[in-house]
């Protein structure tokens, strides 16, 4: 009684095991694997769209490079802390104005922050940083320079890796904390308490406030967003180049590979994709549960 023998019994085979059937347990008929689906829901990437998205990653890399170049300037004494402080203040005010003027299209559920709340936050930041900067300055006195550099490098790498590129506005805890930790390590190497304070304010702006502005920009003016990314990349390369040309070359290579090479690889390798789906997959919940909380 096999599949290619004489016609089987009149009872058709059903795919159930809780009924005694005249077939063996591992019998399958010609409808085997008819529910198999290949590469379901696969996205067709277009090269330039991917490049545009990857630009954001490059932008973040350049931000970090910009920050490091600022620190290099401070350390060598080419930039005095007052200048940096005034510059940061101006940039912050400009950015705040831009942020307020770009109204979001989608009204989020919670009420928008008032200007007073923002002022309060800013006051807390500044007072805390100013109060702690003498302490922060002496933190890494007894730690050797190599250790400090290594720690900062690792932390900045962690920041880049864990950054929430999809939605930068509520900042990811680990990325922000890692960046701040690295900036404290670096800032404590500077010669004075005011330098530390200036560096930390700059770090706060670059790592905490800038992504919020970018998010708002991305939502309201996508075209300008790309332009900003490109601008930041160029600025990063240029800033690093003024201090160490080797670094600039390295950064340019990295940017190039991230923004141009990797999307190419992604698009090319798509055709090798071979996913199979079927009724045996785990159930996925597609509903948005955040509305319940």
């Amino acid at each position: 009684m096999g599949p290619d023998g004489a016609p089987g019994p009149t009872v058709p085979w059903r795919k159930v095991l809780w009924e005694r059937q005249p077939f063996p347990d591992n019998y399958v008929d010609q409808r085997f694997l008819e529910e198999l689906r290949r590469n379901e829901g696969i996205r067709q990437y277009r090269y330039w769209a991917v490049v545009k998205e990857a630009g954001f990653v490059g932008q973040q890399l350049s931000c970090v490079a910009l920050f490091i170049s600022l620190w290099l300037y401070m350390e060598q004494g080419l930039l005095c802390p007052e200048t940096l402080l005034w510059g940061s203040l101006v940039c912050a005010l400009l950015g705040y104005g831009l942020y307020q003027s770009l109204l979001p299209q989608v009204e989020s559920g919670c009420e928008p922050r008032t200007g007073l709340a923002d002022l309060q936050s800013a006051a807390i930041f500044l007072s805390f940083t100013f109060g702690f900067s003498p302490v922060l300055k002496t933190l890494t006195e007894s730690v050797s320079t190599d250790t400090v550099y290594a720690m900062s490098a690792i932390m900045l790498l962690a920041h880049l890796v864990s950054f929430p590129y999809a939605q930068p506005s509520p900042p990811g805890s680990l990325s922000l904390n890692a960046a701040l930790f690295a900036s404290v390590c670096l800032a404590s190497r500077l010669p004075g308490a005011l330098h530390t304070f200036a560096m930390l304010s700059c770090a706060l702006m670059v790592f905490a406030l800038w992504p919020c502005l970018l998010q708002r920009l991305k939502e309201t003016a996508p075209g300008h967003f790309t332009g900003v990314c490109v601008g930041v990349c160029v600025g990063g390369v240029g800033g690093l180049g003024s201090q160490s040309p080797g670094g600039a070359v390295l950064l340019a290579l990295a940017l190039g590979s991230v923004t141009l090479l990797c999307p190419l690889l992604l698009v090319c390798l798509q055709r090798h994709k071979d996913n199979i789906h079927g009724p045996w997959d785990e159930a996925e919940i597609h509903e948005d549960l955040s509305r319940l909380s």
Binding site: S121, I124, F125, F128, T129, F132, V135, L136, T138, L139, T140, E141, S142, V143, P170, P171, G172, S173, L174, L176, N177, L180, F181, V184, C185, L204, A208
Partner: protein, 611 residues
């Protein structure tokens, strides 16, 4: 079926007479307590037995007859057999011994339903009636009887004689002790226990001594009479007023202690911390136990009282020895003169230690600013302490002199006082330890919490687990700053904590040794150990049997010797419960506490009220 007869050794050579004792139900054994000689009046014997039964609470009865025929006492045998009619019993033992032979012979007569006495018979259907035996005796003399008895032995019950020393079994206590009335639901006490109990309860029977001129003459273990132990009697008489006096003193002391002024919070707190006060209250409890007016019921209470009394006396003796050494040759002033320089020396050593910490100790990376702050803080404390010691220095000799007097209450008091003084003198080390530990604990707690913030997680108190959490920007920023600060200041704090913890542990160890020795003196059962060494038969764990005589034809004779209790069991059973000073935490818990920075109090006292 084997019948065991427990026979006292003192009756081995007694004259012929009646056996008085007890049948142990369910175990096929009998305990012989005494032999009552002729001449006696059966009515008087019955009266005497009933009197004894009422006094001791044990079922006594006449077990049978004993015959050790001397010269010219030939007709005893028949006379003895006639006695079984006078004392109606279920079973009647007839034990006979001839001079020159070591073995006994035993005949058992059972009463059947008709009231006729028949011999035990199993296989051979020889029905021996009592008259028949008598006839045979009269005819044949001794040989046939012996042979018949032999045959009876083979086919009837086997008898084993277990000889025991009456005095030892009477005074001995079988362990483990069963207190109170045994429950009928539980197993009935074992045979051995019943034997011991029988002999011990029948003390009134044994008080009949050889100087007594009563109607009955008996052989059993006899005391020397009341007149012989005068000193013991005098002590017993004198102890009653002494107990009253002590109770009166104790009531005054309790009244003083319960005065309102002493229940104020600071005094109460202090008195619960000072080990001298604890020891004082503990000794008060002891004295109350000793001086209670009721006599000790039961073996455990008696041993407890005796142990407490003996250890108290030994304690006082040791204390007086210490006093005699201390107040001789000006030892007190020598001690006082070395105390202040010793405290100075300790302070100087501490200062040097702090200076070393404030530098770069062992090449560790310390944060200079924090280092300086902590170091200066502790240095100032030491300076305060040294001024205090110098202020106290003229009074130290007086304090020592009066403190030494307290040793007359016992060595334990002197040791507790020493422990308290050590605690007071090293109070600054304790303070440093607390500061260091609190700082360290706070730091560790803050670090762990901020580390969770670093990763974007939070401790869920309700579910006791770590959950993810989305923080605000402010929280993240300030949290990271604090985290960095705490992390880099950790080595400094940890080092200070380590140093002060080590110092504190040294002090705690010393105090622990003192407390352990005090506890040892308090709880060691000296009286029980003395009893075990000198009179080992008083504390019995069991018995062992030795074969005395195993001749064919006679019954088996065994000697029952008491197995004394093992020393470790003695200590375990009779240890006076104290505020046993034992380490509260296991090693693992202690190390974990040290790591986290919780304050450790390794020696914990249980409350004095144990019930």
């Amino acid at each position: 079926m084997v019948l065991k007869i427990f026979f006292p050794q003192c009756c081995n050579r007694a004259d012929s007479g009646l056996l008085v004792g007890r049948w142990i139900s369910g175990h096929e054994s009998a305990v012989v307590l005494a032999v009552i000689h002729y001449p006696f009046i059966p009515g008087q014997v019955k009266q005497y037995i009933q009197q004894m039964q009422a006094q001791s609470g044990v079922e006594l009865s006449v077990l049978g007859s004993w015959s050790l025929p001397k010269e010219g006492q030939e007709g005893m045998e028949s006379f003895l057999r006639d006695l079984s009619t006078i004392f109606p019993q279920e079973r009647w033992l007839q034990i006979k011994r001839t001079m020159g032979k070591t073995g006994f012979t035993c005949q058992i007569l059972n009463r059947d339903q008709n009231g006729k006495i028949v011999q035990q018979e199993i296989t051979k259907k020889k029905k021996k009636v009592k008259e028949e035996i008598e006839d045979e005796d009269h005819c044949d003399g001794g040989d046939n009887k012996e042979q018949n008895q032999e045959e009876e032995e083979e086919e009837g019950e086997k008898v084993i004689f277990v000889h025991y020393e009456q005095r030892k079994v009477m005074l001995s206590q079988l362990h483990p002790i069963e207190n109170g009335v045994p429950d009928t639901k539980t197993e009935p006490p074992s045979e051995l226990r019943q034997v011991f109990q029988t002999v011990a309860s029948n003390q009134p029977l044994f008080f009949l001594d050889r100087y007594d001129d009563g109607p009955l003459k008996s052989t059993h273990w006899q005391s020397e009479g009341r007149e012989a132990s005068i000193i013991v009697e005098l002590l017993k008489q004198a102890s009653v007023p002494l107990c009253f006096f002590i109770s009166w003193l104790l009531s005054i002391w309790t009244w003083v202690c319960n005065m309102r002024v002493f229940s104020l919070y600071p005094l109460k707190f202090l008195s619960s911390k000072l080990s001298t006060c604890i020891q004082l209250s503990y000794r008060t409890e002891h004295m109350r136990t000793i001086s209670s007016s009721t006599a000790a019921k039961g073996h455990t209470e008696f041993m407890r009282k005796a142990n407490v009394l003996v250890s108290f006396l030994v304690d006082v003796a040791l204390g007086l020895l210490l006093i005699s050494w201390l107040y001789r040759d000006n030892h007190i002033s020598t001690l006082a003169n070395t105390l202040v320089p010793a405290a100075d020396h300790v302070a100087k050593e501490l200062e040097e230690l702090l200076q070393w910490l404030m530098g770069a100790p062992a090449g560790l990376k310390m944060n200079r600013a924090l280092d300086q702050v902590l170091g200066r803080f502790f240095l100032y404390h030491i300076h305060l302490w040294i001024s205090y010691i110098h202020l106290m220095s003229p009074f130290i000799e007086g304090i020592l002199w009066y403190g030494g007097l307290s040793a007359c209450l016992g060595l334990t008091f002197a040791l507790s006082l020493l422990s308290d003084m050590v605690a007071l003198l090293t109070f600054h080390i304790y303070c440093f330890y607390v500061y260091g530990a609190r700082l360290y604990c706070l730091k560790i707690y803050g670090l762990s919490s901020l580390w969770r913030l670093f990763r974007g997680k939070k401790w869920n108190v309700l579910r006791q687990r770590v959950d993810s959490c989305s923080y605000d920007l402010d929280q993240l920023f300030i949290g990271t700053l604090l985290f960095t600060v705490l992390l880099f200041l950790l080595p400094t704090t940890a080092l200070y904590y380590l140093v002060f913890t080590l110092l504190r542990l040294v002090v705690v160890l010393f105090q622990g040794v003192l407390h352990l020795s005090v506890d040892f003196i308090n709880s060691f059962p000296l009286f029980a150990m003395g009893l075990r060494i000198c009179r080992s038969y008083r504390l019995a764990e069991g018995v062992k049997f030795r074969v005395l005589c195993e001749e064919p034809g006679t019954a088996l004779h065994l000697l029952m010797e008491i197995n004394p209790l093992k020393c470790s069991t003695v200590i375990q059973t009779y240890r006076t419960p104290t505020y046993s000073c034992y380490p509260k935490d296991s090693w693992a818990a202690l190390i974990k506490k040290l790591f986290v920075g919780e304050l450790i109090y390794p020696w914990r006292h249980k409350t004095t009220k144990t019930d």
